[in-house]
């Protein structure tokens, strides 16, 4: 007080802000006060409608802005929502000290002022969190083809605007209103209206789901673990009035002890039903018993890759001595639902012919069963599967080959080799015979690799080597 009276321009300044958070008003006032150099002890803060003879409200941007550390502005935003009438004075003291000579003040959690403001911010954050949690909507039926919901809630602090984003994001397709004594929110699917304080409305009756909720609340409670202290710590009684389930609490608590005693006292009873032995035995036979069953499962499975309109299944006779595994179906394979019918497939057929093999003799399949692509205009652009995606499909491939039982499996390219071996394989280095988890195999390039080679000479050489690989694999499968 001494300082106050000693100051030369000793007059006190009164600042009147709108009730509630009024962040804009506070910001404008603080700018003006700092510009004027008025210390906190000469400012009196209050809220309410400005009186007739008060100075006109300070216009935003009237005084120069100044910068504050981000942590301070965040703290201000939260503390302004607090219901404590001292909040403005406390915040102004923080701002004053920060801009004067304690730039790092906010980083000292042991400072009494910072500590107090942090606790206020925490209380606001908690109130926001509890409002997200405890708002209960009642259905008000359909209005013009859209479902309408209404809620009444009593937050402790001025947080109505602060929670709006959460509810808009969560319930974009419903029409809803949340009324509170501090203000209201209304959403119609396209715009949010922030309205004035409301009175408790008569909520619509007859929402059947609310009865279901009450019965769920009752059933999910375990009487053997009653701990009301823990419950009220997290769900304080001040919120109970607007929680439909809260009216059940006294009854549940009262009957808990006797329910537990009854449970413990009850002798274990002999099962009344006969042992479903047959069903228990049958349970173990769930694995697909034939290739057809496995294929049916695969057809019903959602793709593990983006794109993929359908599963492109393997093709060829069971017991084929040679199986060829490619990477994944391409655009054309996806359209026709058959493996190796696109450009790479045609090249493969040509090479097979030169190696003395025909499509009908072989089992043809892919490591990944769906076409992975991204849409670019009208085109579907092929995307290589990641190794994680290849691994999602390993189980299928293994089962498939177990049914087909080829004498040799040829991996066409790195994805196929990864799928068969279970670990990354370098095609250039491993090219040739290789064991895939005990299964005799052979590694070579994928025919699409040949198509991508720019130089015709290199292409011819690679093609010749590819044909030689197929021949070698066929010989091993025969021998």
């Amino acid at each position: 007080m001494d300082a106050l009276f000693a100051s030369p321009a000793g007059a006190l300044r009164e600042v009147i802000l709108s009730p509630g958070a009024d962040a804009a008003g506070f910001r404008a006032a603080v700018r003006a006060l700092v510009a004027e150099g008025l210390p906190p002890e000469r400012v009196i803060w209050s809220t309410g409608a400005p009186g007739l003879f008060d100075a006109p409200p300070m216009a935003p941007h009237a005084a120069p802005a100044f910068s504050l550390p981000r942590a301070v502005t965040e703290l201000i935003g939260l503390v302004l929502c607090h219901g404590d009438p001292e909040r403005h004075g406390l915040l102004y003291r923080l701002i004053w000290r920060t801009v004067k000579d304690e730039r790092a003040l906010i980083d000292n959690p042991a400072d009494p002022l910072v500590h107090r403001l942090m606790r206020m911010a925490k209380a606001v954050r908690r109130d926001i969190h509890k409002m997200h949690a405890f708002v209960r909507f009642r259905s008000a039926g359909m209005v013009q083809g859209r479902e309408r919901f209404l809620a009444w809630f009593e937050p402790e602090h001025f947080i109505v605007e602060a929670v709006a984003g959460f509810f808009v994001k969560r319930f974009p397709a419903m029409d809803w209103s949340i009324l509170t004594p501090h203000g209201s929110l209304s959403w119609d699917g396209t715009s949010l209206v922030i309205g004035p304080p409301a009175l408790r409305p008569a909520l619509p009756e007859g929402d059947g789901f609310e009865e279901g909720w009450l019965s769920y609340y009752e059933s999910t409670f375990n009487p053997a673990r009653t701990n009301t202290a823990m419950m009220t710590k997290e769900m304080p009684k001040k919120y109970w009035a607007n929680l439909p389930e809260a009216k059940l609490i006294p009854g549940l608590v009262q009957s808990a002890a006797s329910r537990v005693d009854a449970m413990i006292a009850r002798e274990a009873s002999a099962p009344r039903k006969r042992d479903p032995r047959k069903a228990v035995e049958a349970m173990s036979e769930q694995a697909p018993g034939t290739l057809e069953e496995l294929n049916r499962l695969m057809r019903d499975t959602p793709p593990f890759v983006t794109g993929g309109t359908r599963a492109v299944l393997g093709e060829g006779p069971a017991g084929a001595p040679l199986a060829l595994v490619g990477e994944q179906p391409g655009d054309q394979e996806d359209v026709e639902g058959r493996p190796f019918v696109g450009p790479a497939g045609r090249l493969l057929m040509k090479a097979l012919g030169e190696a003395g093999l025909s499509r009908e003799q072989l089992y043809l399949t892919n490591a990944v069963k769906h076409f992975k692509y991204v849409q670019r205009g009208k085109r579907r652009l092929h995307q290589s599967p990641t190794s994680g995606e290849v691994k999602h499909y390993r189980w299928w491939l293994k089962q498939e080959l177990d049914f087909v039982q080829p004498r040799l499996v040829v991996a066409l390219g790195a994805s196929a080799a990864l799928a068969l071996a279970g670990h990354p394989v370098s095609v250039t280095r491993a090219r040739g015979p290789m064991k895939f988890e005990g299964r005799p195999g052979y590694v070579t390039t994928h025919p699409s690799y040949l198509l991508r080679l720019p130089d015709p000479a290199a292409q011819n050489a690679a093609y010749a080597q590819f044909v030689a690989d197929l021949k070698a694999a066929a010989e091993r499968a025969a021998g």
């Binding site: 959690p109 769920y216 997290e234 069903a279 990641t386 994680g388």
Partner: protein, 404 residues
Amino acid sequence: MDDTLATKLRILADAAKYDASCASSGSAGRAAKKTGIGSTTGAGICHSYTPDGRCVSLLKILLTNYCLFDCAYCINRRSSNVERARFSVDEVVRLTLGFYKRNYIEGLFLSSGIIRSPDYTMEQMMRVARSLREEHGFAGYIHLKAIPEASPWLVEQAGLWADRLSLNIELASETSLKSLAPEKDAPRIRATMGQMTERIAEAREEKRRFAPAGQSTQMIVGADATTDATVLETSATLYRGYGLRRVYYSAFSPIPEASRVLPVKPAPLRRENRLYQADWLLRYYGFSVEEIAAGGTEGMLDLDIDPKLAWALKHRERFPVDVNSADREMLLRVPGLGARAVDRILKARRFGRLRLDDIGRLSTSVKRARAFLITADHHPLRLTDRADLRERLAPAPRQMELFG
């Protein structure tokens, strides 16, 4: 909601309540499209609390409580006389959306008894999740309890729809599992868990959406003779080797229609509480299982005091600790100082030497901590040598009912 659906809900919520987990956390923030519904916040939200102090975050129900398995600790085992019911896929979808729209829940936690076969059951559960996501644009939280006996390809598909997957390990000891749950197979549970761990890690690396909230599991405590040390060792392996997000402990609680092979008395809830505290020390405070176990006797935690205090009392030579100079690791070992308080201390001491009052502002339990701390104005005068320190710090004996 019609009467049949209400009855089913009562039976199948009752049947699901013994699962401890109800968390809706760990997923990335996400919001529905304009025509859809739902969002996830990352931290999760508890929408209500029942008088057992447990949070209600998800609609936690079974698809059915008919079951072909006969696990002694489970109320839904085939030999139990409990009332049975079965939801259709569509009923679960309707309930979830109806509850979600009224802001009762964060999403769905779906589990099931095994009917027909593990694969069949798993597939039905998946249809629920898929319908919510694909047909209704549901972006809320989904936790699926995978059935470890189902085919790997089915379990993997669950990751496409669910935020979190869990596989219950049920009992820390393989022998106990064999005797109490004859249809279950411990190595198989772990193999499935391991497979999911790999797929989840790969997807995360490749930035694909696949079970973004990871995996969790649950162990029942007190249904067999397994010690706390064994339980915690199992947890440590699961955290380290399988990258699990959470291990839940469920003190064996008496169930209606209990099996004869089980203890009649419930395991003390205090034990479960101590295990959760120990679990916390394992994950965030740099303690090893051996250190935690050393605080108790014969592999069991001290039920009267928390495991951190128990450790400190047996290692008094390491105290008192000077708040103005000790490193983070040592501060974390001080009873009464949580990880958040420690971080605040480290921040605040850059501004000057801390006094006891400062610690009072930085931590919520300075009363407990002061016996182990030196500050600029406080030295606990060989307090740590006092024989009655334990009595001074242990909570007064009272009938405990605790914790969710």
